[in-house]
Amino acid sequence: MSKVEFNKETGPREVFCGLTSIVWLHRRMPDAFFLVVGSRTCAHLIQSAAGVMIFAEPRFGTAILEEKDLAGLADAHEELDRVVNDLISRRPEIKTLFLVGSCPSEVIKLDLATVAEKLNKRFLGKVRFVNYSGSGIETTFTQGEDGALKALIPLMESSNEEKLLLVGTLANNVEDRFKKIFGNLGISNVESFPPRQSTELPKIGKNTKVLLTQPYLSDTIRDLKHRGCEIISAPFPLGIEGSTKWFLAAAKAFKISELKVHEIISPLINRAKLALESHKEILKGKRLFLLPESQLEISLARFLHNECEMNLIEVGTPYLNKDLMKEEINLLPDNTKIVEGQHVEKQLDRVRESNPDLVVCGMGLANPLEAEGISTKWSIEMVFSPIHGIDQAADLAGLFSKPLRRNQILTSKTLVTN
């Protein structure tokens, strides 16, 4: 492991909670509905983060707890029953309904598992119910996906068929590219989790080789391991380097020679390097500060340093699983400062002191930093854009070069007036 400096910080935070991951999960599985059992705050959070007005009826909603629900839990369970019944009769096309716990439902100890169990019996063969928590007292942002996937694992049937299982939500086009490349490598049995239809869950077992696409799935990985799956250790497929090592690790697990991998992906690498050039020109030598939010920060830091030649000031992450991240950490330059957790005020002090060229941060902080003259990139864009794989490396770099390029344009001397 490279000599990386680990720090922990606690204090007030500025991050989304796990409920936010519903925004991409519901798009991945169009036959699923996500019902948050929570407060008006939860409903407001999701609509604010997602801009849901474009939908006539979104495939997520909130059962808002009211005063009378807090008075007696028995009544709350009945009320939830009623809401679910209404919802199912209104949306008969729904195949899987996720009951998503929130901060208030966790605090009053609303037992969503029992509710789900009862509903499963009643709607047997029509709708499946699963529950997980996306609460802010337990989860940060992307950890919501970890909870949702973990909740699906018990529904996955066993099979000893040999397969490669890609775990973590991917953009559909990226998924297709990966499958094609794996096919060229000779790995034809490739499935994805989460699948595109909630009812088409992959079967798993001891010959399932799991390759993570996202770094925030600690609990999911643990449970897949318990089901006998083999976990392939690799960096994450962000950038050329990460993706190459990711393909190599998969190939090794399937006993495919390195030579074969290089033969297949070399043209992609050459093409990607070419595309990366113009972005690198802008990013090279620029100083980067990553605030914690998506858990993608370490992989992004590795990509932006190793391939775009940016200098890392601080790499924040809301949560660090050193085991899961070891391949990534090994690729970081010496003396990289990783900070797990957050004290947002102290961290912002460090941002100002270090005078970075670019800060990766949440939407609440971006404009205030811009107003102070510091260029920013919102981290939420990383989970909505197709950024994985060799072919997307330049697009990923583009997310970071664009604010800097814009800054150059807008501060150009031609704007000077008298």
Partner: protein, 523 residues
């Protein structure tokens, strides 16, 4: 438990944040878990604010719950006070913290600070954003003026005469995330100063705690947004005898009435009465022959109480529209909205559920929708022109240009904003009329995008599917052909009416003649 897919208002602590963020030298310590920080983006992204809201979130986690969350609250309060040095501290909790009952307000008061501390108790499971904003502003005024309640005499609105100065008023209610508040304040101040009236304090927008203490230097209060300021105005009236205005100056008639009301309350003679009608272009634009086609346009209105009521009056009296629907999500203003609806002979729709609003909109078959951003989307789906008149805020509702709703310029803005979508509607009609002409390029894009044409398809596929709609009624070839000649935005209404007529008369087949019979019957 209430199933909510989308909501017009946030929780009450977001209302408190609106007050805190609108003001200076105030800090709000909010006992809340980490996810609640999403609310910052409402201010930094939607309002494009260059500062973070002055809010510290205690960020408690599950593992803290077993231990001492009260200590965590105190630690955060201490740090926030040291770092931000506020003149006044607001302390409160969000929905989750309300359940663990740490009573952060009481904790803060026991910490020995010498600044005023406002303990906010905002019931998250029964109240909403606007209520929270109103309550916060009210508690703030109460706390900061507490000591003056008994020592001050009742304020005589005529005292400016004895004091030998121009009359002074406060403008209360404008806040961040309020609809066009920034520009309304400028417009109202301009109008008042033209009349020789000075503004003492604008609050909460831009005010400091010190300004709140100065509120009683004014003679009367202008209650600009009842949702936010009415409770405070009422308290100031009860305790200091300060009168406040009731008229919301949106539209020409209401602006004139507002000016009259202010003059009456201050006993200030109104010298330029005749000029007032000509301060805005709206009256003449509305009168000009070009606007003839606006007569009797069917308009559906939904929004917060203040803007919905104002819109209904302008629509009817100043633009000559027919109001076919009126509603609000502001339960606190339901009574006033119902009264206005009654005057207009429509039934008021009081609801939080946008799907109900969309249904009502569909049934009313309007030619123009005045609503929130959500109604804009619903109207788009139905292919009806729409203009946005109310919160909840969207980044589009914070335009770069000066764009008030109130006063003379507000009336100009309203004329343009409401009439332009209708002109587009007219254009849409022309596209429909000329689509068979050979000069007309096939696939001409509607300005409403693809949704509008989809809606048209919906209606026509409805026609096909519904060949035997209600009780065995059949549309004949001629009836169907005639229906397609009806402008798209009333086609649905004509179809329903004709069917209704056919059922009434026991006519089994609808021909072109039936269509005309029904038209005559219902006109």
């Amino acid at each position: 438990m209430e199933l909510t897919l989308w909501t017009y208002e946030g929780p009450p602590h977001v209302g408190a944040m609106r007050i805190a963020s609108s003001m200076k030298e105030i800090h709000y310590v909010l006992h809340a878990p980490q996810g609640d920080t999403y609310a910052d983006l409402l201010f930094t992204m939607i309002e494009r604010r260059g500062q973070r809201p002055p809010v510290t979130y205690t960020t408690f986690q599950a593992r803290d719950l077993g231990g001492d969350t009260a200590e965590l609250v105190k630690k955060n309060i201490k740090e926030a006070v040291e770092r931000f040095k506020p003149k006044t501290l607001l302390v409160g909790e969000s929905c989750t913290a309300e359940l663990i009952q740490d009573q952060p307000g009481a904790l803060a008061k026991g910490m020995g600070f010498d600044m005023p501390i406002v303990n906010l108790e905002l019931p998250a499971y029964s109240k909403k954003e606007n209520w929270g904003a109103s309550e916060t502003f009210y508690q703030l005024a109460r706390t900061l003026l507490k000591e003056k309640v008994n020592s001050s005499e009742k304020i005589n609105p005529l005292r400016w005469k004895e004091l030998g100065r121009r009359p002074k008023v406060n403008i209360l209610g404008p806040s961040l995330l309020g609809f066009r508040c920034r520009d309304d304040v400028i417009e109202i101040q301009r109008i008042l100063s033209e009349q020789g009236i000075d503004t003492n304090v604008v609050a909460p927008l831009g005010a400091s705690p010190n300004d709140i203490e100065r509120l009683i230097d004014a003679e009367i209060n202008i209650c600009l947004y009842k949702e936010i300021a009415e409770a405070s105005c009422e308290w100031l009236k009860r305790n200091f005898g300060m009168e406040y205005t009731n008229t919301i100056p949106i539209g020409i008639k209401n602006t004139i009435e507002f000016i009259n009301e202010v003059h009456n309350k201050l006993d200030l003679p109104l010298s330029n009465k005749e000029e007032l009608e000509n301060k805005s272009k709206l009256p003449w634009y509305s009168k000009s022959v070009d606007s003839n086609y606006l007569t009797g346009k069917r308009v559906f209105i939904f929004g917060d109480g203040t803007h919905a009521i104002a819109a209904a009056k302008i629509a009817k009296d100043e633009l000559g529209f027919e109001v076919v629907g009126l509603g609000t999500y502001s339960r606190e203003m339901a009574r006033q909205v119902r009264a206005t609806a009654k005057e207009l002979n429509v039934e008021a729709l009081i609801t939080n559920n946008y799907l109900e609003v969309e249904d009502a909109m569909k049934k009313a078959a309007p030619e123009l929708v005045l609503g929130t951003q959500m109604e804009r989307h619903s109207a788009k789906r139905l292919g009806i022109p729409c203009s946005v008149i109310s919160t909840p805020m969207h980044v589009q509702d914070v335009p770069a240009r000066y764009s008030p709703q109130m006063g003379w310029e507000g009336a100009n803005v309203i004329f343009d904003d409401w009439v332009h979508p209708l002109m587009m509607g007219l254009e849409e009609h022309l596209i429909d009329m000329f689509k068979h002409d050979f000069e007309f390029v096939d696939g001409h894009q509607s300005h409403l995008g693809h949704t509008a044409s989809k809606t048209k398809d919906l209606i026509s596929s409805d026609d096909k599917k519904d060949n035997n709609p209600k009780e065995g009624i059949i549309w004949t070839e001629s009836g169907r052909a005639e229906l397609t000649k009806v402008p798209f935005f009333v086609r649905g209404k004509v179809k329903t009416n004709t069917e209704k007529y056919a059922i009434l008369r026991g006519i089994p087949e609808i021909s072109d003649e039936t269509l005309y019979d029904a038209k005559a019957y219902f006109s």
